[in-house]
Structure formats: structure tokens, C-alpha cells
Amino acid sequence: MKLTGADIIVRTLIEQGIDTVFGYPGGQIIDVYDSLYKYQNEIRHILTAHEQGAVHAADGYARTTGKVGAVIATSGPGATNLVTGIATAYLDSIPMVLVCGNVPCAQLGTDSFQEIDITGITLPITKHNYIVGSVESLADIIREAFVIAKSGRPGPVLIDVPKDIQMAECEYEPKAPVEAYEMKAAKRLDMAVECIKDAKRPYIYFGGGAISAHAEEEIMALSQRIDAPMGCSLMGISGVPADHPCFLGMQGMHGHYASSVAMNHADCIIALGVRFNDRATGNKDKFALATNIIHVDIDSAEFSKTIKPAYSLRGDVKLTLQKLLELLPEKKRPDWRAEIERFKQEEQANQDVRPGMTPYNVLKLLNEYTDADTPVVTDVGQHQMWTAQVIKFYKTRRFVSSGGLGTMGFGLGAAIGAQLGTGKRTVLVSGDGGFGMNLHELATAVTNNIPVVILVFNNGVLGMVRQWQTLFFDKHYSNTELNRQTDFVAVAKAFGADGVKVDNLEDLKKALDQGFSCDGPFLIDCLIDKDEFVLPMLPPGGSMDDLIVKVEK
């Protein structure tokens, strides 16, 4: 059948299995919005308050469902507003397809109204991008974009479509959804197998790559087979149930003490879908020196990028683990286990046991309300690390957080996307800084009646930067004391949502009761002290010897 380019865009998205698309209309994408109107029974469009919210929502949708997130935006400012969201998805390897309008082909390069070179701008933050040159190539470009977005190491792909191509007509034949390239297990495992067999203190370290490979079962099986503890990067959280006896939690700059220490003591680190970011390793020259690292990743560019592994195994984490499991005999390591128990006890001894509205107590209470299905989304900062440390996840893809880019303002949009993706009541833990960056998405949450409980850790300061200023900048609180008069509950109400302010655990409990029975968004303005610390802390560029466990105030 003959369709316009705009119709082809929408039909191809539907054909590729997209049921929800996030976006914002404008002059150069108006034809596509006309098609969305036409096909509204087959595809749902969520109008956000700002294009950035749309990308974050598509991101939250993709992270919680494993599907490709889809975004539509107009040219110029519509396109540039996507940039932070695209970079967020790129750094965390989240599959996404974004369609932007642009000025007609004849006007490209003339600086016409709302024209911007978005393919140029997004070159370093997309897996690939396109500017479509003919309506005939449009459908196949979109299909190729889906292949690229979900194959291998996933990521965002942008398609820029000039307006005349949206209006031009050509034949369209629907096709089956594209498949990602076939994943393969790594080859030549024998050396790595010997290394694991010989190890006295193996440590399994997994990250976002393990989650996208769906390798949870295999990781736990490996842990049991070789009697090794498991730890993860921020991106690996929710990959293994929090109550698994061998799971030590997140390692790294603000990781669990036992997890970081065990990693540092290990003589063999089996790294699965991680990229040894500086937040995970600290000073890389002093990182896990006495260790053989076996690095399994689908992206061979990660080998030796920061840390030189003893063995690099390029392949799908799940399939590679299945092969490893065939080759590895069962082995008990009671001495290592005893050592791990000691680390755990040391961690326990340093546990925050203060009563009252401490971040720890707030999140412990929140744990009583979330269940295995609840997506918990964060912004970026102290609250993010506390959430990563305290909230218990029992199901994969339920922790949603901007890891690589560390995007403040990510949370609310992502929470909306997570809720729409899972259909489950979602929790957003945010801070007054990050929440303030994109709080206009409350409008989206209200319009779409999104059940999301928003916990704003309100301390009146930019807590993470303040923590650094306290520790490393002689308490020069340069521009981190907000001195705002924002009433978040009134803001929520102004947007048509509900909310309460709490400053004690009893009221928090009542607020959570209310929030978790509310149909739409519910905001809890949660007052906490401005001098709370995220601990432990590996100072930037430091090694495990510099680990800060306690701070005397």
C-alpha cells in the first residue's frame, strides 16, 4: 500500500512492537503526529512536559521491560532537548530509537527556522544515527535502527527525518519485527577455567551487561558451583535477589563494605558485563592488584580500556556462563567463606543504628512497602547511593538509575516510563536538587494518572557535592546550600497531584500508607538532615586503603 513517510514511521514503529511512544509535537514533526492521531488505537503516545522527560521516560520503560524505548520529537530545540537523555541511555547501554523531524531537505544547511544538525550533535552519544534522504529508504532505516539498538551491547539510535520526506509517499510492506544479531558464547575458555579452579578467593562481579543478557540464573549457579560471593556495580543492582546468602551488594565508591573489601581481597575476579568505571575501581593503578581478572563482555572494546584483565572472553554473558558451568567442577572454599563472614560482621558493626529520620531508616521503612515487582527509580546524588545500598530488590530490572552519566533530573521521567512499562506502582526516590530539575513532569504523571510514590529527600542542600566539600574542600559550601522556599507539597498540589510533608518516621509511615493506596502520583516531602553522609566512601582516585567508613562530626 502507498503511505506517506509519516505514516510509514508510525506503521514501522507499530510493526516493530512499539506500543508506547514518548514525545512532544512541533512544526517539523506535525505530519507524524497526524499519523499518531490516525493510528491511536494501535500505539499510545505519552505527551511529556519537556522532551528531556520523554527520553528519560522511554529510558525507564526500556530498563524495566528490556524492550526498545521509543521517542518522537520535533526539530531544533525539540531535538537538542533530547541530548541529555540520549547520553544517559548511551552511557548505560539502554536500547532506544528516537525519531526527530527536521526542515525539508532543500532547506538543510541553511540555518532555517528550528533547523539543527542533530545527527552531528548526537554522533558521539548514539550507537548510530541517520538522516533520511528518501522516503523509499525510511522503513528499512527504522528497521535497521531497531537491529542496532538491541543487538550486542544495546544503545540509542536516532533517526532524523526531514519534513518533505514525512510528506512524500511510497509503497509500504509491513514486515516482522527485526531480531537482534545472534549472541554467541565466548570461545577458548580453558585458561579461564583453570584460573577459576586454582583460585582460593574468587569473587563474581556483575554489572548492567549481565542484566541485559538475562544472566541471573547462571550467575547464581556459578556462585554456588565455585562457592564464590557475588557483588555488583550500580548497574548490576537487582540482577540477583537481595536476600541471596552469597550476595554482598554493590561494590565501589559507595558500595557495601563487605562487597568492596571482598573484591579487593579476591585472587580471581570474574567480571561479567562490567566496564571497570572509575567509580567502581577508585585508583585503577591500585585496584585489586593481587587479582587475576576474567573479563566477560559482549563488547571487546571494554577489555583493557581501564583495567587489564588476565583473560578476556568476548561473548554473551549468559551463554558464556552456561559454557563455563559445563567446564567447572563443584568446589567448596570454606576458608574464603569464613573470611567473607568476617567482612560481613565488620560491615554489620559499622551499620548506622541511629534512631529517627535518617536516610537509612527512611529507606528501611520504604522496604516494607515495596514488593518484588515494584520498580524503584532514583535521581542522582546521595539519595541514589542510599537507595542502592538499602532498598532490597528481588527481581531483575526493578532498579532504575542513571549510572554512567549520573543525570540529575532523570528520575521523574524515568519513573513514569517504568510505571507505564511494568504496569506496577512505581517508587521514585529523589533529592530536592534533582527533583527540582525536571519536576514539571508531575504534569505528565497527573494527566496519565501514573501511580508513583515520590519520596523527595529534602535537606535543602546538594548533598553529594556538600559531602565532598565537607571532606575535601574545608567545608566551603559553594553554591550547594539551596536557600529555596519551595514547598514541594504545594507544587505537587498545583500540578494536580497529592502529597504530604513529613519529618518523623511515624508520619512517614502514614504518608507511605497513603501513597501506596493512591491512584495517581503522590509526593512525600521527606525532611532529612543536611549533614548526612553516604558511607562507606572511597575518596575519588583513592584505593581501598583510603576507605572512609565513619566520619566524626
Binding site: K127, H128, A301, F303, K305
Partner: protein
């Protein structure tokens, strides 16, 4: 530092060179020379780069190149197993005192005079980069007005082609 010459076969499409060089810039990869041209096939262009670095840098460059969807093949061209060549045009001052010396040097290096005026000479020389560097060093004795080098092009010896390498 080892020197590498690497051939990259890319989709013959608008903007591909930009994608490749943008990645080099972003990753802080320092390239000594880069050439790009059409190939035997309409579907592909060929980029040849040279750079110095350790094995890890080389591995990074190759891996990062393969992550670009427009990149089809990447092949390191070992100097023993391949033929490399560069072309240079060099313009020097023409005066009576040095004219004869320049001509002798040009003969020795098989540099061809392609433009001759009363006060300038342009010579064309092709060969491996070391030979061209040596010729430039020689010409520095006189007055070099302008230099234009193409960068390295390279092909593997024998009948094998870059298309035959496995991914």
C-alpha cells in the same frame, strides 16, 4: 613505540569519515595520517590510518572501529606483508646557487619535477613514508615553500583482500 598501518573498509555513505574521525577525537586517539578513497566496489570506501602506540591502544582502536555500524572490515597491514605508499608534492625555491644540488637530490630520490618557474620548483615523489621523510630532510637544506602529503595508502601482498577477513 610500534607503528601501525590499519585499513578500514567502510560503507560508502555520506558522513562516514566524520563518524570515524569523531570517534578518534572523542577517544583521544592520535592518528599520524589518514587517507580515504573509493574502492573497487561502489558499496565501500577505504580509509587507511597510521598511528603509533602500544598493543592496547591498537586493540582499542580496532575494537572501537568495529562498533561503528558503517565499518565493515578492519585490517592491520603488517609492514612485511603489505605494500605501503605515500605521495608528496614539494615546492622549493629555485635559485641559481642551489638549483644543481636540488636536481641531484631529486634524481637520487626519483622525484619528478612537475612544475618549473624562474623562482620555484614543484617535485612529485612517491614511496614509503620513511623515504619521503628523508627527502624532506634533504630539502630542508634549501628553501621549502610548501609541502602537501597524501598520507599512507596500503595493500596486503598477494591475492587476499580485506573482504576475506573474518569478523
Amino acid at each position: 613505540m610500534p607503528k601501525y598501518t590499519t585499513a578500514i573498509l567502510v560503507r560508502n555513505q555520506f558522513g562516514v569519515l566524520n563518524r570515524v574521525t569523531s570517534m578518534f577525537r572523542r577517544r583521544q586517539f592520535n592518528i599520524n595520517s589518514l587517507t580515504v578513497s573509493e574502492t573497487e566496489s561502489d558499496s565501500f570506501s577505504r580509509i587507511t590510518i597510521t598511528y603509533e602506540g602500544d598493543n592496547e591502544l591498537h586493540h582499542q582502536i580496532v575494537s572501537q572501529l568495529y562498533k561503528l555500524p558503517d565499518v565493515s572490515k578492519v585490517k592491520e597491514l603488517d609492514s612485511d606483508e603489505s605494500v605501503t605508499c605515500e605521495l608528496m608534492l614539494i615546492k622549493v625555491k629555485n635559485d641559481a646557487a642551489t638549483r644543481e644540488d636540488i636536481r641531484t637530490a631529486a634524481d637520487a630520490y626519483k622525484a619528478e619535477t612537475v612544475d618549473y618557474t624562474h623562482d620555484s620548483i614543484i617535485m612529485r615523489i612517491a614511496g614509503d613514508s620513511r623515504r619521503i621523510d628523508a627527502f624532506i630532510a634533504l630539502m630542508r637544506e634549501y628553501s621549502i615553500l610548501e609541502i602537501c602529503r597524501t598520507g599512507v595508502v596500503a595493500l596486503e601482498r598477494g591475492s587476499k583482500t580485506i573482504l576475506e577477513i573474518m569478523d
